[in-house]
Every structure is written in C-alpha cells, then in structure tokens.
Amino acid sequence: MPESITTMQIIETWLAVGFTLMIYTFLYKDNPIFKLGEYIYVGLTAGYAVCYAWFTVIWPDLIYPLYRALTVSFHIKQWEKPLESHENLWLIIPLVLGILMLTRFSSKFNWLSRYTLAFIMGSVSGMSIPLVVSANIFKQMVPTLNPFWGPEVTIFQTINTCLILVGVIAVLIYFFFSVEHKGAVNKVARLGIFYMMVSFGAAFGYTVMARESLVIGRVTKLIKWASPDYYYATIILLFIIIGLVVLTELFSSRGERTE
C-alpha cells in the first residue's frame, strides 16, 4: 500500500483534508478559516462555471458550428469540407438573444433584454403546461382510482385505498383558497394537515439516513487519511486548523469586532 501512493496523491490528500476541515469549522461558528474556505470555493466554482460553459455549450454548440456554417455558406473557404449543414445558421437567433441579454450592462438599452426574457418565459411556460398535466395530474390520477373491493382485494387493501382517497381529498380541500376554513371545511382541511404532517415527518426521518451516510463517508475518509501512509494528514491539519481558529478567536475578541 505505502509504495503505491505517489507524491501527487499525498498533495491531493492534504488539499482535501485541509478543505474538509476548513468547512467543518463552520459547525463551531463563522470564523476566518471557514471564510477562507468559502471564498476559495466560490472562486473555484465560478471559474469552473466559465470554463464549463465554454467547453460544453458556447464553443461546441454555438461558435464552432456557426463559424463552420458561415464559412461554408458564404464560400469564404471553399476548400473546407461542409462539416455543418446550413441549419446551423439558426444559431444566430440564440446568439442575438444572448447578446440582447448583455444589454443589461447599459442603462440606455437594457430594455432590449426583455425580448430574451419574454422568449425564455414564454417557451418555458408553454413547454411546462402539457408536461405538468401529464406528470402531476394524469399520472397521479390513475393509481388513485383503485377499486375499493373486488376479487383480489384484501380487507387491508380496501382500508388503505379508502384512507388514500380520503387523504387526497382532505389535502386538496386544505388547498382551496376561495373558501374560508370554517366549520366542516376547517375540519376536513385540518385532516389534510394531519396527512401532510405524517408525510413530512416520514420524509424527514427517511432523509436522515441519506444525510448521515454523507458524514460517515467523509469521516471514514478523514480517518483513512490520518494514517502514516499519508503522513498523518488529518491529525496534523486538525491541530493546525484548531490552533488557527483559537488564535483568530483570541485576536478578534481582543481587537475591534469587525463584520
């Protein structure tokens, strides 16, 4: 095992341990060490987002095909193979819409960005309506319409079918906006709240496991990295970071309190 760990891996491990512990200091309270980790995190991801957008969208889906389509269609370079069909000239539309979005930098022309926004909002709204009807209404409706009893239905299933139907109706009545929650409506709506509370409690309890497994994963790695193979990365960095947090605490409590 030890001989298979390269120097590069040691560096990577120390980096990972350092970042992990920096973020964990937030559990104590906000402190400059966490702030450092946070700013590095924001910087790295923002930079990564730029590269990612460039490598996966802007260059391969916009600039390159458009360049190819333009050069081929206007016969600027006739020796080039027509790699892209003329269809790609349509890409001028998103290019223009994107540039209109950038008019927000100007206070005089920023109203032009509304065209882009209207394009996005209109498309999104239109796309979502039939999808929502299909996924949220129709697909939920069919399994709810179960027979109460029948040849293959046990008494237990009958009870559950009734309970589900009652629950769906009660929760739907809770969501009625134009009826005052008084009298019978209030009682049914309250039943709906009971159903929702059981459901939320269940979902909460269910998620605990998934979230704790993340901590377990992290802790297991930290323990692995505390071994001599990694030059006690976790132990050394733990002491350094705790020391730094204590130091900054002492410093800030003595000095002026800054934001």
């Binding site: 980096l15 973020i23 964990y24 559990l27 590095i40 924001v42 910087g43 790295l44 923002a46 930079g47 990564y48 730029v50 590269c51 990612y52 460039w54 490598f55 969208v57 260059w59 889906d61 790699l83 892209e84 890409l91 998103p94 290019l95 819409l97 994107g98 979005m101 509304r114 065209y115 209207a118 394009f119 909002m121 209109g122 498309s123 709204s125 239109g126 796309m127 309506i129 929502v132 949220n136 559950n160 629950g167 109706i169 929760v171 739907l172 969501f175 009971f194 509370m197 059981v198 459901s199 939320f200 269940a202 909460f204 309890g205 605990v208 979230r211 993340l214 901590v215 992290r218 800054t258």
Partner: protein, 235 residues
Amino acid sequence: MIKRQLPLLIAFAMGVIFIIQFFIPHQISQDLLTWVNKWLMIIGGISLLLGIYSLLNFHYLQIFRNKPGWGFSLIMFFSFLISVVVGFTPSLINVILPLPESSVQSAEQVKEWYRITGLKDGSSLDWIFRHGITPLSATMFSIIGFFIASAAFRAFRARSLEATLLLLAAVFIMLGQTPLGGMLWSGIPDIMTWILSTPNTAAKRAILFGIAMGSISFSLKIIFGIERAYLGGKN
C-alpha cells in the same frame, strides 16, 4: 410598443407554439423542441458573463475601497483565476496549434475532441474539480448531517397534535430503517412501510395536484400577459 407590447407578444407566441408542439409528433416539431432547449442553454451560457461581472465587480470594489476583509476578496479573485487559467490553457494551445485537417472526419469529432481537451478525466481542469471542488462540496453537503440532528432536536416537540404526528412519523421511520426498530418491536418496520405507502402517498399526490393547478394557471397568466412582473419597468 416596442418596449412593452412586443415582449408580451413574443411570450404569447412562444407559449402557444410550445403548447401545440407537445401534441405534434412530427420530426419538425421534435427538432424545434431540441433546438429551442439548446438555444436556452446557449443564452444561459452567454448570460453567465452578467453573473461573473456582478461577482468580480463586488469583490473588486471590496478590494479597492479597502473594506474590512478585502484580503478574502483577493483570495476569491485568485482562486477564480486559477480555475480559468488552468481551464483555458489547453484550449489556448489548441488555437496556436491548429487542428490536423486530415484527422477531422466530422463536426461531432471536432466537438468531442475539443470537449475532451478541456474537461476530460485527467485534464488540468478536471484535477481542480476532483481535488479542489469535490472535497469542498462533499463537506458542505455532509454538514446537513449535523444540521438535521439539531433541527430534529428543536422542531420535534409534541406541542400540538400536528407536531406530534410529525414527530411520531419521523421517529418510526428512523427506527424502521435501522436494525434498532426491529429489535425494539418487530412491528416497527411494518408501520414504516404502511406510513410510507398510505398517508405519505395520499399527501404527496394531493400536493402534486395542487402544484399542477398552481403552476399551470401561473403559466397561462404568463402566456396571456397577466403576470408580467419579470418584464420590469414601464419605460
């Protein structure tokens, strides 16, 4: 007119087109959907400039106005630059050394080749992602494991019937998922199954119905120009 009515008209037209599009199986209509989805991604990519400007401008002002904590902003700049420089170095090299024409067979290959140099396993940007961003993300994500405990401690008090139901459901599920539940009472896993399959299903379905109602009517209001907050000012 150009400033106010035309955008509303665009929203209306796009909305109606895409409602109809859903019901047309023809290739043209499928292509339209693919294309517009791609366009939305492209617009998002271009708009990232706005976001990056906002971020950098904020930290630039922090540094140059000598605000407290400006050093952190400097670090933000620095790590941003690391990502960008490391990410774009291979593609800059690509610009200097043009594509070998003979090896290029199709446009797809060119795109793929380009994608690979930037983001492939083992590229320098990938190294940053794996050893810089991933540990930070995983740790931040795992903090929820601690927060969920303190949230449970504070919120699960049997103050009312509603709160008691919330508490009981959570406790039963937590018990039912580990060997602990079965050890205490063999019925606990069955209760867990029942809670998840009956009351939970009912509540979820009804909430989904509600969301559907709300979001469809909201979409309709956008298409018909009743909901126009996103367009902002009148002038």
